[in-house]
Amino acid sequence: MFVKPFRYVRAESLAQACEVLRTADGTAKVIAGGQSLLPMANLGLLDLEAVVDIGSVEGHRGVDENDGFLTIGALTRHRDLERDPTLIAQQPLIPAATSWIGSARIRTRGTLGGSLAHSDPAAELPLVMTALGAEYELTTASSTRVVRADEFHVSYFTNALAEDELIAAVRVPALGPGWGWGFAEISRRRGDFAIAAAAALARVADGHVVEARLALGGVHERPMRLADIESATTGASASELDARIGPVEGLQAVSDTSATAEHRTHVARVLALRALTDAVRRGEAA
């Protein structure tokens, strides 16, 4: 491991960290869990003057429930997302998807904000946030703003964050009555980056879909909602979904050493069907 020395800054607040970022002119990076940044540093891919650790910042952790919405602190670790009783009860898609992230070690250290800010198109959390229509609360030393997930994630490792901006919290709706959820993922091995993944939500009445939300990850340059497939499911029962939904179209799938674009596109539909089917079945039972 050839890591060039850098300055280590331990921030006591997000505002302090943002201020360091503002003055560093692109030569500083924030570290929360460090599960994406430090592998890159070890590979010699980062040239940093400073690393700003926000791991000791107080607050910004845990889940608050308010008026049908859940607000999750950006410093909440994956491990805590997986086990949080409020999430398990109110929005189980998030714990279920989180359990697919890497290994237990990654989930011990990795944080919600870190994963979203890294904006890996194959990552689970940006995908479920896109499916849920989550809102990200972004902060600088002096201001805050709210950006929707589908506006936030732009492309490979590229997002709407300004250079001196951090994610402070994420707001998602709780799972409403009659709603079910589904999550499906395929990777070459357990814990690897997804070849493709699908997150689905469906509101079901009398065994038929009233409305559905479906997002795919790992295929396109960012997680994508698939409106065509969503609308095609309206009125379908779980067993009718396969006949209703067409091929996945409109995504520019990537080819890499895990899978070709053609394969990604093929399994994307398989996963969409599996996630939707699970969502409808759960919606029926809800």
């Binding site: 491991m1 050839f2 890591v3 060039k4 020395p5 070890n42 590979l43 010699g44 395929i186 070459r188 091995r189 357990r190 814990g191 690897d192 980056f193 890499d256 050493t257 895990s258 899978a259 070709t260 053609e262 394969h263 093929h266 399994v267 398989v270």
Partner: protein, 781 residues
């Protein structure tokens, strides 16, 4: 004494016991000092700067900016290497390149031929200084054409990777009358099989520490399978062989990847240049980029059989990718050639095998050494013959199985019993009924595959190994043997053998191993040879020692030598019981040695020529059969291995735990090659230089490997043992594709069998079924 050895189970006390290995306790306690764990105060650190392009002329090298980094001690280039050349023997060749000795530079001076080739060496006081300085070494290139694959390399007008042409080596076998055999065949099957570049991916990346000892001997303590590389290091430095010493501590996995030199020349140069202790640890990225890989093979098989399933003839063409430098490619290809027909009797065989230079990473030794790739070819072929003739796959294998006294196509006669049929029966009996699919979109399949793999080095290499055993006066014993222990229990098995013969409790035996200066040289831990060679050397030393001591007791007491035995209670005879410590005192009084050096010489043979008509080529072979149950998801192409059973005849299991461990580990490594692993090269650039991209099996990718140890009771190793390190890696290449074929109707022929390739096979099967359905045949696929 015949070179075939045997043993009777009821006479064994320690050998054949499933004893936890003595080296494991320290490894589990975390106290074992691997190559990278040793540090000296004031030690320097070194790293290699590598080519980022696969094929280029070097136009400029400049280390001045790097030298100015605080803490940097030196930046070395090829001109700073006393003898900047590593030469490789390429035996038996008439091709232009192979007829000479192939060579490569320690540090490239004017030309690079693969992505990752070493160009400069940076030495610094700290790893932090290295991190900064390595990026400041300037190396400029003029790109040259890239030769991406061996077919391209051998095409007319191809760019020459080395002067003299891209054909590095060629082997041929022509036995019997091949063409008439095809003419009279009832069935002829033909296909092409492709394997991929594979990385050893041991968990311990290459590492080592070097220092100048008090006596001026340059000492390297490195992760290696070959302490005899001290000779190569001495040549590079231009010093007598006696001035270099290599110590192999316990090695964190080898599999052939630490058979060629890795860090050795660079640590040696850094120590030589600075006269200070130096440590070098390759990153995983370096390991995956720069260390030699398993050859990818293109294998074209045409096979003739008669209606009763008798194999009549093989016509085989093999082309392997030698990568950028020769390394052991010619020998690996020789193994491919000799193993190409598998464990079957085939009277008429024509093989043409070639290996060609490309701008890919060098390829060299890897568990199974060219023999294992061929399993994909010969097992697929025999399965296809069986399918066409509607013969059971087990039955056709038994019908064609080699037996003692048969000659291989290369001319070698088999001198030990072959229990191939028993391994087939064993896996089937264990397996019971075929599993049923877990859902409507799943298909299950079952298949077996057999193989043979040599153990011991090529006979013309005049192999030998030495081991020394000495008693301490308290009755404990010390074994010294130059064997490197790479995790297979190489050192531990020597203790077990010595304990058996000398009747000393195994806990009272210490084994000192892997030191080219202080332990008798035992040769390389490669080629599944250490149990055969060091095991026999230890056996012979122990026997010599025991017989001398019994002789002393006989002379002292007047008892007949043949009536005396070494037992845990001491020497016992009809009228004598003498505790061991008394025997040792007696030996001292009578000037009888209480130590002995055993040297075991391997079988001999003539050096081969290109046309391989020499006769014996290997000491002997190990045979086995695996059975795989798979389930295929026909929507995603994912393959799950539901059960995996592996049976091998090991002659005699010295330690059944170690044998089972070798079988289980090798099977999983083979499964990894079949389903997951590939070093992906694109125009000479490595696209899989990390363990996120290079995918080895995890605990969730494989089931428990059910190992069945068969013991024919004879082999060339001590007590009738056969080598088992390499053989079990081969059969997965036959069993898994065949099980997938059983599930979905079409056999994959290219590795790795990714979900995508499975889906292609399903599509092909569906298309074929459509044709069949239309023609009302309805035959089952």
């Amino acid at each position: 004494m015949s070179e075939v050895r045997t043993s009777k189970l009821d006479e064994l006390r320690v050998v054949h016991q499933p004893l936890p290995r003595h080296d494991q306790a320290e490894k589990i306690a975390g106290t074992t000092k691997f190559a990278g764990d040793l540090a000296f105060a004031g030690m320097l650190h070194a790293c290699v700067v590598r080519s980022q392009v696969p094929s280029a002329t070097i136009t400029r090298r400049d280390g001045d900016d790097a030298r100015r980094v605080p803490g940097v001690v030196a930046v070395l280039f090829g001109e700073d290497v006393p003898n900047n050349e590593i030469r490789v023997d390429v035996p038996g060749q008439t091709v232009v390149v192979g007829a000479f000795r192939a060579s490569m530079q320690v540090l490239a001076t004017d030309r690079v031929r693969f992505h990752g080739e070493p160009v400069a060496l940076v030495i610094a006081e700290t790893e932090d200084a290295l991190a900064v300085a390595r990026e400041l070494v300037t190396i400029e290139f003029d790109d040259l054409p890239v030769v991406s694959d061996p077919e391209q390399a051998l095409a007319a007008g191809a760019f020459q990777v080395h002067d003299g042409g891209n054909l590095l080596a060629e082997w041929r076998i022509d036995r019997g009358d091949v063409d008439p055999a095809f003419d009279r065949a009832d069935v002829v099957v033909e296909d092409e099989y492709r394997t991929q570049f594979v990385d050893h991916a041991y968990l311990e990346p290459e590492a080592g520490v070097g220092w100048l000892d008090d006596d001026g001997v340059l000492t390297l303590r490195v992760a290696t399978q070959v302490v005899e590389h001290y000779r190569d290091v001495a040549k590079i430095l231009g010093v007598p062989d006696s001035k270099v010493r290599v110590i192999a501590p316990y090695v964190g996995g080898g599999f052939g990847g630490k058979e060629d030199m890795t860090v050795e020349p660079y640590v040696a140069l850094a120590v030589w240049h600075t006269r200070r202790p130096v440590r070098m640890q390759w990153t995983r990225n370096e390991s995956l980029l720069a260390r030699a890989k398993r050859h990818r093979n293109v294998m074209r098989y045409r096979t003739a059989a008669s209606a009763d399933g008798t194999l009549l003839a093989h016509d085989i063409d093999i082309l392997s990718d030698a990568g950028a430098y020769a390394y052991l490619s010619a020998l690996v290809l020789l193994y491919s050639t000799v193993h190409a027909c598998g464990p079957y009797r085939v009277g008429n065989v024509r093989i043409r095998a070639r290996t060609a230079y490309t701008n890919n990473p060098p390829t060299s030794a890897f568990r199974g050494f060219g023999g294992m790739q061929m399993v994909l070819g010969y097992e697929s072929q025999i399965d296809e013959v069986a399918r066409r003739l509607e013969i059971d796959p087990g039955e056709i294998r038994k019908r064609n199985a080699l037996a003692r006294g048969d000659r291989l196509p290369v001319g070698q006669e088999l001198i030990t019993e072959v229990q191939l049929a028993q391994t087939i029966d064993a896996v089937r009996e264990r397996a019971g009924g075929k599993p049923t699919p877990a859902g409507p979109r799943k298909r299950t399949g079952r298949a077996i595959a057999s193989n043979m793999q040599s153990y011991g080095r090529l006979v013309w290499l005049n192999d030998s190994a030495a081991a020394w055993i000495g008693f301490q006066m308290d009755g404990s014993a010390t074994v010294r043997c130059g064997v490197p222990d790479i995790g297979g229990g190489q050192a531990s098995s020597l203790a077990q053998i010595a304990s058996e013969i000398l009747a000393v409790d195994i806990d009272r035996i210490s084994v000192h191993f892997g030191d080219s200066a202080l332990t008798p040289l035992a040769g390389t831990t490669t080629a599944t040879r250490q149990l055969l060679m060091s095991g026999n050397a230890t056996y012979e030393a122990a026997t010599m020692l025991r017989d001398g001591m019994l002789g002393a007791v006989g002379d002292e007491t007047g008892q007949a030598f043949d009536s005396l035995r070494m037992t845990p209670q001491g020497v016992l005879g009809p009228d004598v019981t003498m505790p061991l410590v008394d025997v040792l005192q007696l030996c001292r009084r009578r000037s009888v040695p209480i130590e002995a050096l055993g040297t075991h010489f391997g079988p001999k043979g003539r050096e081969v020529t290109r046309d391989l008509e020499g006769g014996r080529i290997f000491p002997d072979f190990t045979f086995g059969t695996h059975l795989a149950d798979v389930e295929v998801d026909i929507d995603t192409g994912e393959v799950e291995i539901l059960r995996y059973i592996a049976a091998h005849d090991v002659g005699r299991a010295i330690n059944p735990l170690s044998v089972a461990g070798q079988i289980s580990g090798a099977a999983v490594q083979g499964i990894g090659q079949v389903l997951l692993e590939e070093v992906v090269m694109q125009d000479g650039v490595n696209l899989t230089p990390g363990l996120f991209q290079y995918l080895i099996p995890t605990a969730t990718d494989v089931p428990d490997i059910e190992t069945l140890i068969l013991e024919s009771g004879e082999g060339l190793g001590p007590f009738g043992a056969r080598g088992i390190g390499e053989p079990p890696i081969g059969p997965p290449l036959g069993a898994i594709p065949a099980a997938i074929a059983d599930a979905i109707g079409v056999r994959p022929t290219t590795l790795p069998i990714t979900p995508e390739r499975v889906l292609s096979c399903i599509a092909a099967a569906t298309a074929a079924a459509g044709v069949r359905g239309a023609s009302q045949e309805g035959a089952k696929s």
